[in-house]
């Protein structure tokens, strides 16, 4: 078990390093002219040279990658705006556009994205699973069909349409829910909560539709298993049959889907952040893409890779905890 986890961690780290090198290669060594793009159309040659120098474009590839990794692990000195600044580890470089360390940008954006993603995840996991179980237990009835129909309707409307409509109507119709606004948790927990309520509700409703379907299917399958019949034959209460025996088996596949969903949401909350004007990771990456702010883009890719790998790892570990057949074989 411990060996298994260690082995998984080792392979996770190697995946991150490979991703890093590959994306570094794509961004910095592409047949484009990064310095030219950054400098703009009417670029004075001196400025161009300065940018090219700061990018170390003249050096060999392996040296560039090595420096990037070196900065990441130990910190490095970076030329920004004509000055040499020390950039402490983990150094992701300096943003060309904002002239601040990428780390600082990320540290501001990450809490926003994490708050949005985890808050809504709790919402849709609870709503989705409960309504899925509810529907599964009433399989074939009108209630069940209504729930399934509802989830299909919600699922077929593009997400940004739902989000835009919600952003327009909900604060006016339900005054308790204010317009979305980012306030750090450390500043005021209440304002943090109220400011994120709207995106949570929207994401919660939209995603709970698919979770209702997953958990309904998963529950229907587990409730038809022989061991659920055995549980009933023991004479335990129906509630215990459903929530202990049925749900216990249905939760394993759900956990897998959930882990990967959260990972993707963390790397791709662009719509939500853009529509609700929340300064999260997606917005920052998008802006960097616009301006070809390479260090920021690289950081976005890196964080994406790390999040995906970690969530995958967590799901696998969770899986071995949930399923004794995996744990003990």
């Amino acid at each position: 078990m411990v060996l298994y986890i260690l082995r998984r961690i080792a392979s996770a780290i190697s995946v991150i390093v490979v991703t890093l090198i590959a994306s570094f290669g794509l961004f910095y060594l592409a047949p484009s002219d990064p310095a030219g793009v950054i400098c703009g159309a009417k670029c004075p040659p001196a400025r161009y040279q300065e940018i090219a120098d700061s990018l170390h474009l003249d050096r060999p590839v392996y040296q560039q990658i090595w420096e990037y990794l070196h900065g990441l692990v130990l910190g490095t000195d970076v030329v920004s705006g004509g000055q040499t600044v020390h950039c402490a580890a983990p150094c992701l470089g300096y943003s060309y556009v904002f002239g601040v360390p990428v780390t600082t940008l990320i540290m501001h954006a990450l809490p926003v994205t994490i708050s949005i993603v985890f808050g809504s995840a709790i919402a849709y996991l609870c709503i989705g699973t409960l309504s899925g179980i509810f529907a599964a237990r009433r399989r074939g009835t009108y209630l069940d069909r209504t729930i399934v129909g509802g989830t299909l309707t919600i699922g077929s409307v593009p997400y940004f349409v739902v989000a835009l409509l919600a952003a327009l109507y909900i604060p006016t119709l339900i005054p308790i829910v204010p317009q979305a606004k980012w306030v750090p948790l450390t500043e005021s927990p209440l304002k943090w909560f109220l400011g994120l309520l709207l995106p949570w509700i929207v994401l919660g409703i939209v995603n709970s539709a698919s979770y209702t379907r997953y958990s309904r299917a998963s529950m229907i399958e587990s409730l038809s298993e022989d061991y659920v019949r055995t549980a009933r034959a023991k004479g335990i209460s129906e509630r215990r049959v459903v929530y202990r025996h049925g749900l216990r088996a249905a939760v394993t596949p759900l956990a897998t889907i959930f882990g990967l969903d959260v990972a993707f949401a963390l790397t791709g909350a662009i719509f939500t952040e853009q529509i609700f004007g929340l300064p999260g990771l997606g917005v920052v990456t998008l802006r960097a893409f616009d301006k070809y702010d390479l260090p920021v883009l690289m950081a976005g890719v890196l964080i994406g890779a790390v999040v995906l790998v970690i969530m995958n790892l967590l799901v696998d570990i969770l899986y071995t905890i949930l399923d004794p057949r995996v744990r003990l074989s």
Partner: protein
């Protein structure tokens, strides 16, 4: 050449229950170790099924899974219910356990277990019945045990559902029973998961779980079908051995007439949802009176006797959505021409005594089925 459970655990320890465990309900009414073969008079029947019908309404029509089924089973006896798939043998046993979903099942008739009517009970009352006075073991021990809970946990849950027992008491009870059903190192193996057991050991766990509340009625639904033959022999021996100790009534559902011959006192043969023949095992397997039973006997390649050519029943079993009129078996029956006026196609025969022997009954219009068996069927059997 010894039984592996042997005398590893003193059987009386379980029957009387350890001090910490509440004693079995009521005194045992059956003398242990006395097994007489043959149909019993009604009287002290523990299970009585009368005119039971079970139907499932579906989109294609109503599936008449069981119709007009009646039998009784006293304590200490084993009744084997035999039939092919779709005969209604499993559906009727699930009905006795109250395991059918009341929303999608129509049940009429009466099922009395220990004098108590089961049909019409609320779910709350049924729950006390299930796993308490009646317990069930299933065909596939692999899928019938929850893969995510330890076997101890699953056995203890069954005990605590019916007894106000502490965790420690329940644990001790589980250990005792695991030992009794022949699992070595029971105390240690209690915390193992089902996948850590072999197929035969899993079925022993299922049996321990079923017996944890001293049920008076044990329903075994094809309990050895998924097992290898040497393991099957062990499990059959165990069930018989436990029945002698507990004095319970055993309802044994199977498709295997060989198993019936070894384990049953009485036999009920089912076809198309109805009982077609009922009586003591020696008479039903030795000199059956129904053409369907004849057909079954002629279809079985046995390990004993002369291997002769099999004489199978033509065609396939009827659809429960639309049973043939008259006798359900008539389209496949080679003897229907012996009954005048096409009676077989017109009229469903009663399940009634057909010879001088009142202890057995069959559902067939033939006039002298006993003579026909002796002169026509017996010579064809291996």
């Amino acid at each position: 050449m010894t039984d592996m459970w042997g005398d590893a655990v003193d059987a009386s320890q379980i029957a009387n229950g350890p001090a910490a465990v509440p004693a079995a309900r009521g005194p045992q009414t059956v003398t242990r170790g006395q097994r007489t073969r043959g149909a019993d008079a009604e009287g002290d029947a523990y299970l009585t099924v009368s005119d039971l019908s079970v139907a499932f309404p579906t989109a294609d029509g109503i599936v008449h899974a069981v119709q007009g089924l009646s039998y009784s089973l006293p304590l200490g006896k084993t009744l084997a219910v035999v039939g092919e798939s779709g005969s209604g043998k499993s559906v009727s046993s699930m009905a006795i356990m109250g395991l059918h979903d009341p929303k999608s099942t129509r049940m009429t008739g009466s099922i009395r277990v220990g004098g108590r009517e089961i049909i019409g009970l609320s779910q709350q009352e049924l729950r006390k019945h299930r796993g308490g006075s009646s317990a069930m073991i299933f065909q596939d021990p692999q899928s019938s045990l929850h893969p995510f809970f330890t076997v101890g946990n699953q056995i203890m849950e069954a005990y605590q559902a019916h007894n106000n027992a502490s965790k420690r008491q329940a644990r001790q009870r589980a250990i005792d029973l695991l030992g009794r059903v022949g699992i070595p190192n029971a105390a240690r193996r209690l915390d193992d998961y089902p996948h850590q057991f072999s197929g035969g050991m899993r079925q022993r766990v299922m049996i321990a779980m079923a017996l944890v509340n001293d049920p008076k009625l044990l329903i075994a639904d094809e309990p050895t079908t998924a097992l290898d033959v040497t393991v099957q022999a062990q499990i059959l021996d165990l069930i018989q051995d436990l029945q002698q100790d507990f004095g319970s009534a055993v309802l044994f559902i199977t498709h295997d007439l060989g198993v019936v011959a070894e384990i049953a006192d009485d036999v009920l043969v089912m076809y198309g949802g109805r009982a077609v023949e009922h009586g003591a095992v020696a008479s039903i397997l030795g000199s059956p009176l129904h053409p369907y039973t004849w057909g079954l006997l002629e279809s079985i390649p046995a390990v004993s006797g002369e291997p002769t050519r099999l004489h199978p029943i033509p065609g396939s079993p009827p659809s429960l959505l639309s049973l043939p009129t008259g006798c359900s078996f008539n389209p496949r029956c080679e003897f229907r021409t012996r009954v005048p006026d096409g009676l077989c196609e017109k009229e469903l025969p009663d399940l009634a005594a057909r010879t001088g022997d009142a202890s057995r009954a069959s559902r067939c219009h033939l006039v002298h089925p006993d003579e026909m068996f002796q002169s026509e069927i017996l010579p064809r059997l291996p």
